[in-house]
């Protein structure tokens, strides 16, 4: 076992896959010599060269569009978009093209595309650099959406994403890039649609997505001091969603809290809560509770941003809301 950061783990996953498969191409702004705006592709240019690690102009639609073309032509493509907010520039290729081509061409093509893009919530990056837009993407059939919260998960999941013959949006967390985790020496992959129970508990089920996971675990530890035993679940992939693991947990605890840094209205938390209500209504001991960003644009001021985003206290309060 070694310790790697979350960013290094993703880098290692991409590197291993690029060694396995000489056709894989990486595209993005400054992904080459510079190593990516957050350093995730560092060293790939030196190992694999300019033909496989390509710097692109500042045009997200063109980056993803090219990547789709390469993917269709048999070159699995990994496109990096510097912030998840910038997926909006590439919405047509991400939502209208990539997930639909295989379908309307009757299976004649596959689209082995990974769009890597990080969530910057909580870092004071301002209104157009701080959003977590997974809810926009899970709404589109045919897109897979991954939100790893640890170095170990990030490496195992990026490898699965690259091997997947269908388009995957891989939503990384900038706040976790420097978080360290143990990585096995041997190769491993993590299947999609398999949630991970990050902490076992009997009293409340807390489902947390991506960047909020460390705070969710902190909330659980603080609640344990108060005698409330929280089970923390990381779905790891929100599409496909491992609802079975969540439902089984709620059948045990009777209480569901869903936390994410994305805005509350129309968020993935609402989807998870509703699926649990449909599947485990009789097991609920109270209404599911969402802990999410307020429905306002994220401010550049970090103080205002912190006031907007869900925090440890908010999750603790939600977990305790089932009693008077």
């Amino acid at each position: 076992m070694r310790e790697l950061t979350y960013a290094q783990a993703i880098n290692e996953g991409i590197r291993e896959e690029m060694r396995h498969n000489g056709k894989i191409v990486v595209l993005g702004e400054d992904v080459g010599k510079y190593g990516g705006v957050f350093g995730v592709t560092r060293g790939l240019y030196d190992e694999f060269g300019a033909a496989r690690v390509r710097d692109c102009p500042l045009n997200e639609a063109a980056i993803v569009g090219c990547a789709i073309g390469l993917a269709i032509a048999g070159r699995p493509a990994i496109a990096e978009l510097e912030f998840m907010d910038f997926t909006t520039f590439a919405m047509d290729p991400i939502t209208n093209q990539a997930p639909k081509l295989r379908f309307f061409w009757g299976g004649q093509v596959s689209v082995p595309l990974v769009v890597r893009t990080p969530i910057a919530a909580g870092l004071g990056f301002g209104t157009q650099h701080s959003q977590s837009l997974e809810a926009w993407l899970v709404h589109v059939p045919g897109l897979k959406v991954v939100m790893p919260s640890t170095a170990y998960d990030a490496k195992g999941l990026i490898k699965t994403a690259i091997r997947d013959p269908n388009p995957v949006v891989f939503a990384e967390s900038i706040s976790l890039y420097s978080a360290r985790g143990e990585i096995p020496d041997e190769e491993y992959v993590i299947p999609f649609g398999k949630a991970d129970i990050k902490r076992k508990g009997d009293d409340v089920t807390l489902v947390a997505l991506g960047p909020i996971m460390p705070k969710a675990l902190q909330a659980a530890e603080e609640l344990a001091q108060q005698g409330v035993d929280v089970e923390v679940i990381d779905p790891r992939t929100v599409a496909p969603l491992d609802i079975d693991t969540i439902v089984n947990s709620v059948k045990k605890t009777g209480r569901l809290v869903v936390a994410h840094v994305a805005h509350k209205t129309g968020g993935v938390g609402a989807e998870i809560a509703q699926q649990v209500v449909e599947r485990a209504f009789d097991s609920l001991d109270g209404p599911p509770v969402r802990v999410a960003a307020a429905d306002v644009p994220i401010a550049a001021s970090q103080r205002l941003e912190q006031a907007t985003l869900p925090d440890v206290a908010g999750m603790m309060k939600a977990c305790l809301s089932f009693r008077q």
Binding site: G254, D282, S283, D285, G286, S321, R323, Q324
Partner: protein
């Protein structure tokens, strides 16, 4: 029109009552107020009266059966009306009467505007998980106080109720045991949930003592105190009502149904006098005498066992200076009257010896503030001394 005869909710802690016998049989004519059957509660034997006139069309419960409050036990109505098939348990489980305009049994029964259920029903808020558990263990939801948000019953509450039920089953339950248990539950609930505070005033009772000797032997001090309360309470409505745990709010009640704490061989009973407003001393005395006799004999009527709006605890002759009775929920106040004794009092700047007693008011601080309690006691003192 067919009307229901149902077991009223007499207090918060009665889970079931025993239907001991039918006093009317199917086919008997009944008038409003006729006793139809007899039940035994933890505290007394009670006759259940018909609320309307007609024929006792159907009895729904066999004698010797234990049933929860709100159970419909009989149907009364004109001999010609069709009797609907109903499940006697339905009213115990549901909060809306089955026989209602919103929910007719079938059109063939043509049942219209029924008598409302005699018991006040509360909406039961409960989580699906708790409901499922309660159904599996046949727990009466009406008897559970919810500890979730807005008083919602949650799983832990049902678990506690099941545990309680099992303990009761284990310890058995003769009448005496049930009475003792009911009292234990009630006082525990009071002490656990009601933030009490107390305030006391010493009252010169020389006027009352002289009036009592003029009024004859059947009138007691309790009757004078009841009369004074009837005159005082309407000006202090916050003291006369019920605290609603669900809403965390006080419901003020215009009628003054004074509960009298009566210590009987079977235990503590709090029968209530009918609305005291506008009633004479003699009238109050007569009803009080009847109630106390019935309480000792265990033959109180359901009306007398309905929840009082205010309780008077009078310790009677002796040397008890003061005491602080605890409130009987959902009421918000109780008045504890110490023994009447010759006491030194200062009247018009002179030290005199007068018959006097200390009146201690206990109130639920959620509903009543100190200023309100003080104003009430001041007026009560004035009324008793003038």
């Amino acid at each position: 029109m067919i009307s229901e005869v149902a077991i009223p909710v007499m207090d918060q802690t009665t889970e079931t009552v025993l239907l001991t016998r039918w006093l009317k049989q199917e086919g008997d004519a009944v008038r409003t107020g006729d006793a139809v059957c007899e039940i035994e509660t933890d505290k007394a034997t009670v006759e259940i009266e018909a609320g309307t006139e007609g024929v006792l069309r159907k009895t729904l419960v066999e004698p010797g059966t234990r049933i929860p409050p709100r159970t419909v036990v009989a149907l009364v109505g004109p001999a010609s009306d069709i009797v609907p098939d109903i499940d006697p348990d339905y009213n115990a489980q549901k909060t809306t009467p089955l026989l209602s305009n919103d929910n007719p049994v079938t059109t063939a029964h043509a049942v219209d505007s029924p008598t409302p259920a005699p018991a006040p029903t509360r909406e039961i808020r409960i989580s699906p998980r708790a409901r499922r558990l309660a159904e599996t263990h046949q727990v009466d939801l009406a008897s559970i106080a919810g500890s979730g948000p807005d008083g919602r019953i949650i799983e832990d509450d049902v678990k506690a109720a099941i545990e309680h039920k099992n303990q009761v089953a284990a310890t058995g339950g003769g009448t005496d045991a049930r009475v003792a248990r009911a009292k234990a539950e009630r006082v525990s609930l009071s002490w656990r949930t009601i933030p009490h505070f107390h305030m006391e005033v010493t009252v010169d009772l020389s006027q009352i003592v002289s009036r009592k000797s003029a009024a004859g032997s059947r009138v007691t001090f309790t009757d004078f105190f009841a009369l004074a309360l009837a005159q005082t309470l309407p000006h202090h409505p916050v003291l006369n009502g019920h605290w609603q745990n669900d809403a965390q709010a006080l419901t003020m009640i215009p009628a003054i149904r004074l509960g009298l704490l009566v210590q009987t061989d079977r235990g503590l009973v709090i029968p209530a006098l009918r609305d005291l407003r506008g009633r004479s001393l003699a009238d109050i005395a007569a009803e009080r005498e009847q109630l106390v006799n019935q309480a000792h004999a265990g033959t109180l009527t359901a009306t007398a066992l309905q929840e009082p709006t205010f309780t008077l605890s009078n310790v009677g002759p002796g040397h008890i200076d003061t005491f602080t009775a605890i409130i009987s929920p959902p009421q918000v106040a109780i008045l504890s009257v110490g023994s009447i004794q010759q006491r030194p009092l200062v009247v018009n700047a002179e030290l005199v010896i007068r018959p006097a007693a200390t009146f201690t008011l206990g109130v639920d601080h959620r509903a009543v503030d100190g200023r309100q309690a003080a104003a009430f006691l001041e007026q009560l003192k004035t009324n008793l001394e003038s």
